[in-house]
């Protein structure tokens, strides 16, 4: 029996009177690559943000190795350090070089020595092909490069799960490929990933699991080959027909 890293139980989130997430349930096991797809406004970002507690869930539980993190079963900082997040808008620290972006969290949150943190940062920056740019500031590199640095920054914390919120949506088309390539390689290396994406080819070919969301609920989930090729639910079918011709 595979032990779940993350279990989301009856999660709901209300903004004012607007119920954005309704009774969400799902699990993530070691090595899963789960793509979350769905129309704009269906609550995908809110779900990811609840998972790493950037938003506070209105009700429900988020169990990380069986501990409920919404009730402070684990300190918020310690938990977030184990759950990496890659944002649509990169959110690199503008006042630091590429290298320092990947060092600061290790040094200040994980209390790793600067030398060791540097080695780890350089290793992951190498993995995403950013070694030549370690001394650059975020504003001096392209969007695709920024996103690769953001991935390296998240990886440098040695997270158990990596969350991606539409990592390629803010990129010029010619830069989408380089970021997807990095993600594809991470998936092949066995990284556990939860990816909100509009890249249907990535969802179909790379992920091990697809979740389709609409109006704050999970409509359908399962094997990407089944869901993307032969969806059971008419809403899923309708949504996908707009992407895959």
């Amino acid at each position: 029996m595979s032990e779940h890293i993350l279990e989301v139980r009856h999660l709901s989130k209300v903004f004012g009177k607007n119920e954005v997430l309704k009774d969400i349930d799902f699990n993530v096991s070691q090595g899963d690559v789960t793509s979350i797809i769905g129309a704009s406004g269906s609550g995908k970002s809110t779900l990811l943000r609840c998972i790493n507690l950037l938003e506070t869930p209105s009700s429900g539980e988020i169990l990380f190795h069986g501990q409920d993190v919404t009730k402070g079963g684990l300190s918020q900082s310690a938990y977030r350090a184990k759950v990496g997040m890659v944002f649509q808008s990169f959110n690199l620290f503008n006042n630091m070089t590429v290298l320092d972006n990947c060092i600061i969290g290790q040094q200040r949150v994980l209390k790793i020595s600067k030398e060791e943190a540097k080695d780890t940062a350089l290793y992951y920056l190498g993995k995403v092909g950013m070694t030549p740019y370690i001394n650059a500031l975020p504003r001096q590199i392209s969007g695709g490069q920024k996103q690769r640095v953001a991935i390296a920054r998240a990886l440098a914390m040695k997270p158990e799960i990596l969350l991606f919120d539409e990592p390629t949506s803010a990129l010029d088309p010619e830069m989408v490929g380089e970021v997807l390539e990095v993600m594809r390689n991470l998936a092949e290396e066995g990284m556990t990933m939860l990816v909100v994406t509009h890249e249907m080819v990535f969802a179909r070919d790379v992920s091990s699991h697809v979740v389709y969301m609409a109006d704050g609920v999970i409509v359908e989930e399962g094997d990407p080959k089944e869901i993307m090729v032969d969806p059971k639910n008419p809403r899923t079918r309708e949504f996908l027909s707009r992407f895959l011709c």
């Binding site: 900082s77 350090a81 006042n95 969290g105 190498g126 993995k127 070694t131 001394n135 390539e181």
Partner: protein, 283 residues
């Protein structure tokens, strides 16, 4: 006319130059120290005021944070809303009134009053500076597990400093000029020398002339330094490419990573790459 003025100024300076300089020294020490302490107060208030509170935090934390915000609010309103000259007499005579003559130092009271005033103005500037930074920066920091203070110290304040810097300069210049109100409790700043000297020898205008030139020099030097610091903070526009050959010489068989895919077999070489040691890029 002007030759007369020049002659008066020269003779005045010859006789009282040391005293004027001593006044300048006192003004400078008070203005610089009070600006520094005021900034510290401002930064602490700014950081405390921006601690996020959410409905799900426990009641103790919410009450505590609410209380901090109210106290800072009152502090800012009281000290911005009353004349500094009045605050000076209020504290100078108020403390002995209640506690006896435990503490009646002109320097200490001057320093406290000017610092606290500066702090009240800086608290608002720092808060504004923090709020002007893209919330994405905070989210990026939170997402790797930084707490509020780490986020402020390493990510937000270094960026907000560029917006806050002009306010620090303004406060310093205001302090250079406004410390003159401390004459009310007997502080011998630059302006008080004017009253003393001109009262003794009735050369009002030549003395006022010296004062004008003196104050203007102090503030112009400050403006100049400020511009220079602002340019420094803007940072360099270029960066050194950690070039391929630099890595080749040390790592041997390495090719520029831009050539291959990020994950080709060469990427194993990236495990222990070499970099140029550089200055700490921390705050």
């Amino acid at each position: 006319m002007f030759s007369q003025l020049l002659a008066d100024v020269v003779s005045l300076w010859a006789k009282y130059g040391k005293i004027y300089l001593n006044g300048i020294k006192n003004t400078l020490i008070l203005a610089i120290t009070a600006t520094a302490i005021g900034c510290l107060i401002g930064f602490i208030c700014g950081i405390l005021q921006t601690i996020p509170v959410s409905k799900t935090d426990n009641i103790f934390k919410r009450v505590f944070l609410g209380l901090i915000r109210v106290i800072i609010r009152i502090y800012v309103e009281v000290f911005r809303g009353t004349p500094m000259i009045l605050q000076a007499v209020f504290i100078y005579y108020g403390v002995p009134y209640f506690f006896g003559h435990v503490f009646k130092s002109i320097w200490a009271v001057s320093l406290i009053v000017v610092s606290i005033n500066t702090g009240a103005y800086m608290a608002e500037s720092v808060r504004g500076g923090i709020l002007s930074i893209d919330p994405g920066q905070t989210e990026g920091a939170k997402a790797i597990g930084m707490n509020h203070f780490q986020t402020m110290l390493y990510v937000i304040l270094p960026q907000a400093l560029r917006n806050i810097m002009p306010q620090i300069g303004n406060n310093y210049i205001i302090n250079v000029k406004d410390t003159s109100v401390m004459f009310i409790i007997g502080f011998s700043d630059f302006f008080s020398i004017h009253k003393m000297v001109s009262g003794a020898i009735y050369k009002y205008f030549p003395s006022a002339f010296i004062e004008m030139v003196g104050y203007l020099t102090l503030t112009l030097v400050a403006s100049f330094l400020l511009r220079w610091v602002e340019r420094k903070l803007a940072g360099s526009e270029s960066y050194e490419l950690a070039a391929g050959d630099q890595l080749v010489t040390v790592a041997g068989t390495y090719n520029s990573p831009a050539k291959g895919s990020p994950f080709d077999e060469k990427s194993k070489e990236f495990g222990k790459p070499v970099y140029e040691p550089e200055e700490e890029a921390e705050l």
